[in-house]
Amino acid sequence: MTTELPLLEIKTVFKAFGGVQALSDITFSLNPGSITGLIGPNGAGKTTLFNLISGVFPVDKGKIVFSGTGIKNKKPHTLVDIGISRTFQNVELFESMTVLENILVGQHTRTRCGMWGSILRFPWVAGEEKKAHQFAMELLDFVGLNGHADKTSGDLPFGWQRLLEIARALASRPKLLLLDEPAAGLNIVETMQLGDLIKKIREQGVTVLLVEHDMSLTMEISDWIVVLDQGEKIAQGTPRTVQADEKVIAAYLGTAGKKTED
């Protein structure tokens, strides 16, 4: 599609848990500024792949290259620092904290006030806090949660919690955003709004990798689709080519097709 270097490259990645081969020989890459959908039936290894990219588990074999550097075996927090951010399948907010505080924690890697800074309150600390505040407010605006900054995040309705989690992930100013089933549990209207939000995020120059069961959403917003089945990559291409791919239909759409219908 473009001549740019890919933002993320997955090169012949293998991962096993105990005796079970969760992923084998996965290779694909993400172009900067694209939205890529990662699909596959349950147990295909999508979430495992997510956890490998975000550093939760180490890679057994193979390479993951982000912006030209290998990120194999890096800890999750370092990956956030270099620009990979994620959300979780079952929203994982800091529930006792306010909406605003959640986003402020999201900016952890983009602020630097440490123990001494907080105890001695150096002059620059206040400036940093102020900037972080402003950015947090902007993000709330961006995802459409303005006006709810001081609410306790655990008390929000589920749909808003999703939005907040995305906002929190964006707070670290990532280059790559990993969204793990962001539409799960949302109604049709909310899903449509989500689609728009993801496109808006891409417009900000953030590359998006998306795991999603909602086929219509995935097919509509993705530039590129990668299909996994039982730990192996069975197809990739534009939504149209993938939808036409016989292997995919056989392995996935054939069974999951029912799901999209209802």
Partner: protein, 319 residues
């Protein structure tokens, strides 16, 4: 935010005023001494509260750091004739270094395993206090710890020591409040709410937990220093497993993740035995019952628990 800061400032101003007021109006040295003990216990509870309430990591061996602070200053001032004011940073540094070394492997554990790991550490340190008798005075204890002096001011009299201890308490409160209100404090609470998510938004959870562990060790060591120069005598029993459990109890009864809860918990646990004295034989039974009842009905501690009740009553009144 500004509102919040002003409110905090007012609180601390009132608090300092109260300390000064108490220090000058209370005449009886006994009450001054009780309040001084409360201050020392507050420091213990505060340090542990940072670890338990904010970072969500339990420690059943914190009396070890209390002991390192006390024995540190005792050994340095008596055996090496060091000025207590130089022994203070040295004792605190010793506790922090020990906390750092022990913390690296221990904080990888969680839940009961973390509890047991810290408990074991506390036991080992306590046995060292008892067995290393050439240095620590062994089970009989360490006598002859000097009086604190600063130029012409001697901290032997109750009132001076009261102000010294509560000065440290106030400073520690402000330090903790600042940490809690900062980026670090937010990250700590994030760890408490969900370690996985915290690490996924970029918080180096291991480093931060270790930092707080070291910080809380420093507060405990400071309390140990103050205890040693108040009583002039220390023995291993004061820093035993029971003492660690008492510290945890202060934090939990007072209220986790609440600075003022530490004060309340420390006050209650210092005063409770005084009040229960009337029960004589039944003292232990009543004490155990109180612990259980508070935890069953107000599991978030007295501070939060009472606030919840207050709020519920308010809501009822509103409707």
């Amino acid at each position: 935010m500004n509102n919040h800061q002003t409110r905090n400032r007012i609180c601390y101003a009132v608090f300092s005023l109260l300390i000064i007021l108490a220090g000058y109006t209370i005449e009886n040295p006994y009450y001054i001494q009780v309040l001084t003990f409360i201050g020392i216990n507050t420091l213990l509870a505060l340090g542990l509260n940072m670890l338990m309430g904010y970072a969500g990591q339990i420690s059943l061996g914190h009396a070890a750091f209390f002991g390192i602070g006390a024995y540190g200053t005792a050994i340095l001032t008596v055996h090496y004739n060091l000025s207590p004011w130089l022994a203070l940073p040295a004792a605190i540094a010793a506790a922090m270094i020990v906390a750092y070394i022990v913390g690296i492997p221990t904080l990888k554990l969680s839940g009961y395993y973390l509890g047991m790991g810290t408990l074991g550490f506390g036991m080992i340190v306590n046995i060292l206090f008892r067995e290393w008798s050439s240095v620590t005075g062994g089970a009989s204890g360490f006598i002859g710890i000097p009086t604190l002096e600063l130029g012409p001011v001697s901290f032997s009299s109750g009132r001076n020591y009261f102000f010294l201890v509560w000065g440290f308490v106030l400073t520690s409160f402000i330090i903790c409040q600042r940490i809690i209100d900062s980026r670090i404090g937010r990250a700590l609470r994030a760890i408490h709410d969900g370690e996985k998510a915290a690490s996924a938004v970029g918080v180096d959870t291991r480093k931060l937990k270790l930092q707080v562990f070291v910080l809380s060790a420093a507060f405990s060591a400071l309390a140990g220093f103050l205890y040693a120069h108040l009583v002039f005598f220390i023995s291993p029993g004061t820093f035993s497993f029971i003492a660690s459990i008492r510290m945890v109890t202060m934090v939990v009864i007072g209220g986790m993740a609440s600075i003022w809860g530490s004060l309340l918990g420390a006050s209650l646990l210092t005063l409770l035995p005084e009040w229960l004295h009337a029960f004589s034989e039944f003292e232990m039974v009543v004490y155990g019952l109180i612990l259980m009842i508070v935890m069953i009905f107000l599991p978030r501690g007295l501070t939060r628990g009472l606030l919840d009740i207050y709020e519920r009553a308010n809501k009822k009144n509103d409707h």
